[in-house]
């Protein structure tokens, strides 16, 4: 009996290392960012650390690249979400029923998710989208069209395509797993009652996928807000600021212009933005936790 309670007491402490580590990881850098955002601090000017209040925030918000960064972030996140959620749902429904070679098809479909972002970006930029020797240029030429110079003429669209290619498999993977728990008897009953495929999709499949879809949207949003490597390796934010998102803007201010104060103000803006999404995600996950 004493062994039992001794174990229980010891077990309670086992969570402590994780809590302490994560607490330090979360609070120390964030507190530093918050502090830096209120001082004038440039890495190229040693010793300067004057308190400036909200000046960095004012500079950040009135900088013309802030508006570009913000709207680019929203366009990138919004378009990628739309593409991955719609196509992801359609594909997950398409491959739900058995057909020859289904397991191989599943493997091919989810593969892009496991490709590292820098490989993804350069394979698309060079091998596929290059206006002279890329595969798309070859396709355009062979049907008599002029090849598109992707990264010069439609830079944001190019980034959206690259990022969507990586995240569509994520949506497929989650939604196809969720489809497997769909009640087959309910489906059969609906078919007996003469419901067509569209009615079944609208009234049975979609409601069943509601929660997985919400999870996909929120997790993707969290990651898409921080897209960095794909931009870093292809456009470097350009031409101009056409593909500069919030994450890339803060990176240029911090590690290219060494303006720590302004970059920190930007960092806090990014944290607030992500927290709004995180708030809803945590509520959904919390519900599924309580439902167990």
């Amino acid at each position: 009996m004493s062994q039992l309670s001794r174990n229980a007491r010891a077990a309670r402490f086992l969570v402590a290392p994780s809590v302490l580590l994560l607490l330090a990881w979360m609070t120390v850098p964030l507190a530093m960012t918050l502090y830096f955002s209120t001082i004038r601090f440039n890495l190229t000017i040693p010793g300067m650390r004057n308190f400036v209040g909200f000046d960095n925030y004012i500079f950040f918000f009135t900088d013309p690249s802030f508006f570009a960064g913000m709207s680019n972030t929203l366009v990138l996140v919004g378009s990628t979400l739309l593409i991955t959620v719609i196509l992801g749902t359609l594909i997950a429904v398409l491959i739900d029923n058995p057909f020859p070679g289904r397991s191989l098809v599943r493997i091919l479909l989810i593969s892009p998710f496991f490709i590292m972002p820098t490989v993804n970006a350069l394979v698309w930029k060079n091998l596929l989208m290059n206006p002279v020797s890329g595969f798309f240029a070859f396709l355009a030429n062979s049907v008599g069209m002029t090849p598109i110079d992707w990264f010069t003429n439609v830079p944001m669209l190019s980034i959206i395509i690259i990022v969507s290619w990586q995240w569509l498999p994520f949506a497929i993977l989650i939604l196809m797993t969720a489809m497997q728990s769909l009640d087959q008897e309910q489906l059969e009953a609906a078919r007996m009652d003469g419901a067509g495929p569209i009615a079944i999709f609208r009234h049975i499949t979609l409601p069943h996928l509601a929660r997985p879809l919400a999870v996909v949207v929120m997790i993707e949003t969290i990651f898409l807000l921080s897209i960095f490597a794909e931009i870093f390796t292809t456009t470097g934010g350009g031409p101009g600021t056409q593909t500069t998102n919030l994450a890339y803007l803060i990176y240029t201010q911090a590690l290219l212009q060494y303006d720590v104060g302004m970059a920190s103000a930007g960092g806090i803006v990014a944290v607030v933005l992500a927290n709004i999404v995180a708030f809803f995600l945590i509520r959904v996950v919390g519900k599924s936790l309580a439902g167990e």
């Binding site: 062994q3 039992l4 174990n7 229980a8 077990a11 290392p17 994780s18 580590l21 994560l22 120390v28 850098p29 964030l30 530093m32 960012t33 830096f36 398409l94 491959i95 029923n97 020859p100 098809v105 479909l109 989810i110 593969s111 892009p112 496991f114 490709i115 590292m116 820098t118 350069l122 930029k125 060079n126 091998l127 596929l128 020797s133 240029a137 070859f138 030429n141 290619w165 994520f170 993977l173 989650i174 797993t177 969290i222 807000l225 921080s226 490597a229 870093f232 390796t233 994450a247 803060i250 990176y251 911090a254 960092g267 944290v271 933005l273 992500a274 945590i282 919390g286 936790l289 309580a290």
Partner: protein, 276 residues
């Protein structure tokens, strides 16, 4: 048209469409692998050569010229060590919360999840400065510390959901036999949940291997992993497509296989147990 023909038509349609979509989505990877076996000249040629004598010269060159082995070793060491550390720290935490929950457990779990949502760019400056001042900039140790911490919440969550599935009776029986805490975890719990634990380890490995924010910002020449090696091919002088393809193929191949093996279990970790 009778019912049978209708079924056959539908099945054919589904099969053809599915294969077509899969081929389209997989095409960039296929094209990358194909290009890696071409000569530089053939890789650039337009129209692209579909039939060619495959060559291994790019793979030889990648190994000899670009110091591929050093980058690959950095990737292997950093992702394995950080994943092992995350498991060592995470298993006891998940055990404690799954089998000895308190009033606060649910809150702690959700709070851990929320640390994962901190955008890395929000702490880029302090982490960069801290790493610089502690001489951890461009070291494998620096990356290991960061990867361990960013994967820890996912690792704990995923293991927690597996531990929750373990029948309570089994653990109670071995407690009645007077097993110590360590014996209980080591000889009963870990063997039962070995499948789930390995998937958790694989997910952590995949995420660390592909991580491309901290690796690009905190490493230069010493500790740079494969993500950074590939990024270096984006510079104008590095426009060697066949070599880029060979280096990329080598860099993604192991992780692609890990992903295929653990695809069904990954969903749990990626959605924090919200979809199983």
């Amino acid at each position: 048209m009778n019912l049978h023909t209708e079924k056959v038509v539908k099945l054919t349609l589904v099969t053809v469409t599915s294969w077509l979509v899969a081929a389209l989505l997989f095409f960039p990877i296929f094209w990358m692998i194909l290009t890696s076996f071409k000569t530089e000249l053939a890789a650039f040629s337009s129209p692209p050569s579909l039939f060619f004598w495959p060559t291994l010269e790019n793979y030889y060159e990648v190994f000899e010229r670009s110091d591929y082995v050093r980058y690959a070793m950095n990737s292997v060491i950093v992702s394995f060590v950080s994943s092992i550390l995350a498991m060592i720290i995470g298993i006891p935490a998940a055990y404690s919360m799954a089998f000895y929950p308190t009033k606060r457990t649910q809150g702690v779990l959700l709070w851990m999840l929320s640390t994962k949502m901190l955008p890395p760019v929000g702490v880029l400056v302090p982490i960069y400065l801290l790493a610089r001042d502690t001489s951890l900039l461009d070291t494998r140790t620096g990356l290991v510390i960061i990867y361990t911490l960013i994967n820890l919440p996912i690792v704990i969550w995923m293991i927690y959901t597996y531990f929750k599935d373990v029948p309570k009776d089994i653990l109670e029986a071995c407690r009645m036999d007077g097993a110590s805490l360590w014996q209980e975890i080591r000889h009963v719990l870990i063997p039962i949940t070995l499948g789930g634990l390995s998937s958790t380890f694989l997910l952590s490995l995949i995420l660390s291997w592909n991580e491309a924010f901290w690796s690009l910002n905190l490493t230069a020449s010493q500790a740079a992993p494969l993500t950074a090696l590939i990024a270096s091919y984006s510079s104008p002088e590095g426009l060697f497509w066949a070599k880029l393809s060979a280096a990329s193929t080598l860099a993604v191949a192991p992780i692609l296989v890990f992903g295929w093996i653990s695809q069904k279990q990954l969903v749990r970790g990626l959605t924090f147990g919200a979809v199983k």
